[in-house]
């Protein structure tokens, strides 16, 4: 409240001045003399962050990572990363007396004999899923809104690395309990490694400490899971955040928002409270899931036994898409000169994920190369205003989604009573055709939405009021949109097709990149082809004149609604209470 603020400001006056020292001031002064915090905090303490719900997705990922650290530390206090054979004698009676690895036995101990242990295990697993899902959705948000453009390309790369490492962290994590399902996953991973030409067998033997399964894989994965990858993740998250602060957050265009400013609420107190409060929300939701929703019940799978497997073996969902590629790959294996090249495994599980992540990381550079756009961008773009960009990601998402569905081909076959062979054959074709169709549909859809925006700008919005002219023709009444909405719709760049320079300079010497420039120009033309540009001032002016003319023509019918619409209230365009009742009703 304005009155209160003035009071607070008066009472706080002089609190930090040296002539009236207090305890807080003394501590702050002590710290500042040693750390120079004042200068560092001066800029950041009221740093402005813009508001939009979609900016929260990255926060979900960040906070779920903190939950992972907290619950993970708790689990390490009881978990034994050891493959030593023990006989289980804990509380879970159905496995009592069964031989299993110490890793499995200690996981059962956490689940059944440590109070809150099962809660923490389930929270850890749920938080891991939320972490990866949130990273993926955040990635999509950043891509679809063009937030990856200069100067944020490197933060995009860091984000992609976080997703890759998060996935590996997830895989190492669910391998640790050494239950039947995770052991099956590790064994498959051994098969993946062995498929690599030249080095595969060495990789497998070095990682497993000899022949599969050995007794080293769990302790080694444990080190990777609790030390190596989390360390790198923490460092990369730190870099991700620092770059966010340095670049300042992107914002949606709108009245008062430009490429040169950032409009929103200050870090202290609004974003400290909102983001801090949101941490507790994410933590709380994870706790609720951990308490109420069971996940990874290893006691139902039983300990790992290399001779056993469960039907419907599935990795965690984020590993599903390479698994799907593995399932639909034809059995192409080549034999030559005493060697075996398992292309049927190597291509889908080693090459494909690497290729996909490379494409992902290159997307910002690819786009700026094609468009020739080297400007800084701080205003976000709506997905419809970059149809080719949007379609490209939709196409990649379709590829991902189809592979993911292929990873559940056995489940689909059982649940829908379909032939697994038919599903597999269909998927082999669909993963190539589907993305192409999705690209086309998404692109045309975007362009249609652009047309709709242009329509709204030039002719106003559709009121739903049907007018009948004296001649008997019907038309829908359009009304102009508000100035701020009209401005927001036009607050976007005009597309500029890349125009290459001369292939040779005046002396006939080829300029560097001259031939590639031709390709660039072609790609750039295709990139923007059929896009609708925002109207010019003249076009807008003309449309408004036209609208006024229409309005004048319709004036005669004004106030006389069409039959049956006398009592409609179209946003107060006419007064219903004054309508005469027809026919003596």
């Amino acid at each position: 409240m304005s009155i209160d603020t003035s009071k607070v400001a008066t009472s706080n006056k002089g609190a930090a001045t040296p002539d009236k020292p207090n305890k807080v001031g003394a501590v702050a002064s002590w710290a500042d003399e040693r750390l120079g915090l004042g200068t560092a905090m001066k800029k950041q303490i009221r740093k402005v962050f813009p508001d939009h719900w979609s900016f929260m997705l990255g926060e979900v990922a960040l906070w779920s990572f903190i939950v992972l650290l907290l619950t993970g530390v708790f689990l390490t206090l009881w978990f034994h990363p050891s493959m030593a054979e023990v006989t289980y004698d804990g509380s879970y009676s159905r496995l009592r007396g069964v031989e299993m690895s110490d890793a499995m036995a200690s996981t059962l101990h956490i689940s059944f004999d440590v109070r809150g242990g099962l809660l923490m295990r389930q929270m850890h697993h749920w938080a891991a899923m939320i972490f990866i899902a949130a990273m993926m959705i955040h990635l999509l948000r950043v891509y679809f809104t063009g937030a990856f453009r200069k100067p944020r390309e490197l933060n995009w790369v860091i984000g992609s690395l976080l997703l890759l490492l998060g996935t590996l962290e997830g895989f190492t994590g669910y391998s640790l309990p050494d239950d039947l399902l995770s052991g099956t996953g590790i064994r498959a991973a051994d098969g993946f490694m062995k498929s690599m030409p030249l080095v595969g067998t060495y990789m497998s033997f070095l990682l497993f400490g000899g022949e599969f399964p050995g007794d080293s894989i769990i302790p080694r994965l444990y080190t990777v899971h609790v030390l190596l990858i989390p360390g790198i993740l923490l460092a990369l998250i730190g870099a991700h955040m620092l770059l966010l602060v340095f670049h300042k957050h992107t914002q949606w265009p709108g009245p008062g928002r430009t490429e040169e400013n950032v409009v929103g609420f200050p870090l202290m107190p609004v974003y400290m409270a909102k983001a801090g409060g949101f941490f507790f929300i994410v933590f709380g939701v994870t706790a609720l899931m951990g308490g109420l929703l069971g996940i990874n019940p290893i006691w139902k799978y039983g300990p790992y036994d290399p001779t056993k497997v469960t039907a419907g073996s599935q990795p965690d969902w984020y590993m599903g898409w390479p698994d799907g590629a593995l399932r639909i790959m034809p059995g192409w294996e080549f034999h030559f000169w005493g060697h075996t090249f398992a292309f049927n495994v190597f291509l889908p599980i080693i090459v494909l994920p690497g290729l996909m992540f490379t494409i992902l990381m290159l997307l910002p550079f690819l786009e700026s190369w094609i468009t020739g756009d080297k400007r800084e961008h701080h205003l976000l773009e709506r997905p419809r205003n970059a149809p080719t960009r949007t379609a490209l990601m939709v196409s990649l998402m379709t590829f991902y989604g189809l592979l993911w569905a292929a990873g559940g081909n056995d489940i689909i076959a059982i649940k829908f009573g379909m032939s697994i062979n038919a599903i597999t054959h269909f998927m082999r074709v669909a993963v190539f055709v589907g993305p192409a169709i999705a690209f086309f549909i998404a692109r045309r859809w975007c362009i249609s939405l652009q047309r709709h925006d242009e329509e709204t700008l030039l002719h106003g919005y559709e009121t739903g009021i049907i007018m009948r002219s004296p001649e008997g023709g019907y038309s829908e009444k359009h009304l102009p949109i508000s100035e701020s909405r009209a401005y927001t719709l036009t607050a976007r760049d005009r597309d500029e097709v890349y125009v290459p320079g001369e292939e040779t300079d005046q002396n006939g010497i080829p300029t560097p990149g001259g031939r590639l420039a031709g390709l660039r120009a072609k790609l750039s033309t295709l990139w923007y082809a059929d896009n609708i540009q925002k109207p010019t001032a003249a076009e807008l002016e003309e449309a408004h004149h036209h609208a006024e003319h229409e309005h004048a023509l319709q004036a005669a019918g004004e106030g006389y609604p069409a039959d049956g619409h006398q009592f409609d209230d179209f946003g107060g365009t006419h007064e219903t209470s004054e309508q005469p009742l027809r026919g003596g009703h």
Binding site: G191, E211, V262, I281, A287, L292, R327, T490, T525, T536
Partner: protein, 374 residues
């Protein structure tokens, strides 16, 4: 205007003039007041709501402690609606405590903290030209002082020596494990190495859980037995397992087999494998040739064996040929025989490596594999 109006290959490199913005930026909209800004009553109510949520959170923490010490786990676990009372109680009270703090704080921010939008100027990420010039100057001065440009010998030997430090880092990983060649040569346990398994001539086929040998007369047509070599179970003489620890796990992971009895007329034996079955009983490696899952889903009418991991399907009546899925090779077959007491025994080890493919694997067609040491 659209791009079609722009000649893409305009030889003059002419860029059309940018049309003026159609609508001028109207500037930040006027701030609108919230009820809590103007109405003291709603302000007080919001304040009470926030404090109430914080208070309720404290209550939940107390309940959490109560649940921790009252709900039993272990052998006599307390149940609540058929669920573990401890896990559910701890989870719900912790969740409520956290959610209430979160909701209270966000309520505070939304209702009571200032909602005046403020604007801050951005600066290009790029350093100013002066700063760049200064950095270049300093780099040049530093480079000059070190003489790194003038003394290529020092520079190159330094790069070489530091680069070579990668070698110790890599070499030290060598002892992570013995390689396949080493394991195969030293045979620290029977059947060591990717080329071999623990199966040998005359070894009994036993059931995988109980370890009892399989008599030919035990099997009906259509029966399937998950088998193991006798070596992985305690030997009868002294009751001690012949294998234990890593050796046992390795043996199990390679030597698992499926034994199936079918109508001998259904079998199309591979070249040189005419005498590998016993009265329609055939034995194949259970380890998928794709990535190594144990295969277990058998369809008796078609004699197809399906891998549950990636759905590779093998025809056990036809040398384990791949009939569907991503596997590239047939399942290795174990040559069978019968001993004097009527039990199934192996005639030899597998004649080819079992499990997933690897680079050093010398793959031969079925007819070319010979009879091993039958």
């Amino acid at each position: 205007m659209s791009d079609h109006d722009t000649p893409a290959g305009d030889p003059t490199g002419h860029v059309p003039a940018v049309p003026e913005e159609p609508i001028a930026n109207p500037g930040l909209p006027e701030h609108t007041w919230r009820p809590t800004d103007v109405d003291e009553h709603s302000e007080k109510r919001a304040e009470r709501q926030v404090a109430a949520m914080y208070l309720a959170s404290m209550v939940c923490v107390v309940l959490f402690v109560v649940v921790y010490f009252t709900a039993d786990i272990g052998d006599n676990w307390t149940t609540f609606l058929g669920l573990g009372a401890s896990t559910v109680g701890l989870g719900v009270t912790l969740a409520a405590a956290l959610l209430l703090i979160g909701a209270g704080t966000i309520q505070w921010a939304r209702k009571l903290m200032s909602d005046h939008e403020i604007s801050e100027l951005r600066h290009p990420a790029r350093s100013s030209d002066e700063d760049r010039a200064e950095v270049l100057e300093k780099l040049a001065a530093g480079g000059e002082d070190s003489g790194i440009g003038r003394r290529p010998l020092i520079r190159n030997t330094l790069l070489g020596s530091v680069g070579l430090l990668g070698a110790p880092a890599l070499v030290m990983l060598w002892d992570l494990g013995p390689t396949n060649a080493k394991v195969t040569a030293e045979q620290p346990y029977p059947g060591a190495g990717l080329e071999h398994t623990v199966w040998s001539k005359g070894m009994k086929v036993v059931r995988d859980v109980v370890g009892t040998p399989v008599r030919v007369s035990d099997l009906e047509i259509g029966d399937l037995v998950n088998g193991e070599p006798e070596a992985i179970f305690p030997t009868q003489e002294n009751g001690q397992p012949a294998l234990h620890g890593v050796a046992l796990q390795v043996a199990k992971s390679k030597a698992a087999v499926v034994v199936v009895r079918m109508d001998p007329g259904d079998i199309t034996p591979g070249e040189g494998r005419e005498n590998w079955s016993v009265d329609g009983i055939v034995c194949y490696s259970k380890i998928c040739t794709h990535v190594g899952c144990p295969i277990s889903l058998y369809e008796r009418t078609t004699h197809h064996l399906l891998c549950p991991c990636h759905q590779s399907t093998f025809d056990l009546s036809d040398s384990g040929r791949v009939v569907f899925g991503p596997a590239g090779r047939h399942l290795p077959q174990l040559p069978l025989d019968v001993d004097d007491e009527g039990y199934l025994i192996a005639r030899s080890d597998f004649t080819e490596p079992v499990g997933p493919s690897f680079w050093e694997r010398d793959t031969k067609d079925i007819g070319d594999q010979g009879e091993a040491d039958l």
